[in-house]
Amino acid sequence: MIKKDSDVKIFNGIKERDIHAYIDGHLDPARARLVEAYLERHPEIATEVRDYVEYNQLLKQAYTPTEEEEVPARLVSALNRPVRNYWQPVMKAAAVVALCALSVGVGRISAYQEQDGAPSDDMVNRFIQQIANNNADSLYNTASMDRLELDTNIETDPLNWLTQKIALEMQAPDLSSAGYMMTGRRLVTRGTQEFVELTYKEQGGGDVKLYLKTRWDKNPPTIEFVHQNGQSFASWQEGPLVYALTGSLSEQNAMRIANLVRGSMSKISDKNQLAGDIIVEQAPVMPAQPVVREGFVSGDDAFLPQVNVPVAPMAMDRQGRFVAPLRPKNIDVDEHMPSAH
């Protein structure tokens, strides 16, 4: 057995670490001869060393065929496109809406160009301020929600489906077909507004900057609350979803559950650290204030459960379609909820 302590000299200055380096072929010839001399005197260790050398050779043989296989095209193409998962953490922080693109130096948006073709810092600041003041709703593109093809079976994995809806699985936009490659990204702050700025560069040309801003409302939502016939109903809008909660609850418990739902849903955005050291601030979950209404404002009887059902947090997407991703298994609440279509 080779000695365990690699620092103990075992023969003529040779240490255990020399024997392993010999096995791995990392010794210079002179030192290798010393090891061989030692092994000649210790046949049992020599047998062990031969075994280890053989294992090395066998392992190399076993793994070599992989290297000789043809490289899949997707790996080659991975070298020529933006990172696949780069935006996932941002998108999990909130639904991000691409607000605007600012062309610098190549004349894509001529209105923002000076005569020499490059905008001044003041122009950039004014432009960003304009974005900051803009109502994101007016810019919200519902097509971006529909753009996602559902590759998850909603019947078997509704939470994944909801995550997709929230996260949108957006990638850093690929502008390579127009000759632009992403060369930089950073967080830009204007007052309380924060933007992620992507810079694309055209070969031999100028830059294009793309600003992205979360739609996340930093103010706590207003929870619409109704209590009737022993049933509580609470609904609110937060992030990209509308929530509706119903159950046989006291008003106090309904509010507590509603805030638990909000806290739980916000955890998906905990990982807001972007690759590339960009951090997008997440709206803190603040206790929501209820607005208690007399009766049902909507008058939608379909929304009124006639029997007691367990708490079933509901969510609705931007098209007003309900999804029921948060319900516990084995509880059928669909019959009490509006149709998804």
Partner: protein, 179 residues
């Protein structure tokens, strides 16, 4: 460090040359064949994104291995739930050799692949990095982000355990190996 277009093209070319080695190293790290190229793709994307951080110190292969090992540990080793196949046998215990039926491996190769699956993962990774990838101890330490002494101790333990497994295998199967 600011890279020009030519520098970027050079780095992309150098990275592309290492794809076969990265696939082999992914084969070393991952059991599921279909996941291996995912690991390589993640590695390549990260490498391209981080290419400006490469200081041209050491080989680009070591740098790529370091990225790949980091991606492997952080992304693919996090699930505490072991995947269990229909027959109830954990995939973690399935010898890698079964993933490549097309390979024409010798009986001895299959034996060593089967035996190495029984080693502790970190020990196995150290051994394969050195034995298969030809990494020096300091390169392995850099890739695995551990001290060189830890690499050596893992290597020694891996070899001893592998030998025990191989000898055990011989006793069980009644094979006699002609040296």
């Amino acid at each position: 460090m600011i890279f020009g277009k030519r520098d970027r093209e050079d780095i992309h070319w150098m990275i592309a040359q290492e794809i076969p080695a990265l696939r082999r190293y992914a084969f070393v790290l991952m059991r599921k064949e279909e996941k291996r190229d995912d690991l390589v793709q993640d590695t390549l994307e990260r490498a391209i994104n981080k290419s400006h951080t490469w200081r041209r110190e050491g080989s680009i292969k070591s740098w790529l291995y370091r990225i790949q090992y980091s991606v492997f540990i952080n992304k693919y080793c996090k699930s505490p739930v072991k995947e269990v196949s229909a027959d109830g046998i954990s995939d973690d215990l399935t010898p890698m050799v079964s993933e490549n039926p097309s390979q024409e491996l010798t009986v001895e190769c299959k034996r060593v692949l089967s035996a190495i699956e029984k080693l502790k993962p970190r020990h196995r990774e150290a051994l394969l990095l050195v034995a298969v990838e030809g990494a020096t101890y300091d390169q392995a330490a850099s890739v695995m982000n551990i001290p060189i002494g830890t690499v050596r101790s893992r290597l020694v333990r891996a070899r001893e355990d592998l030998r025990t497994e191989m000898n055990q295998d011989v006793k069980v199967s009644g094979l006699r190996i002609e040296k």
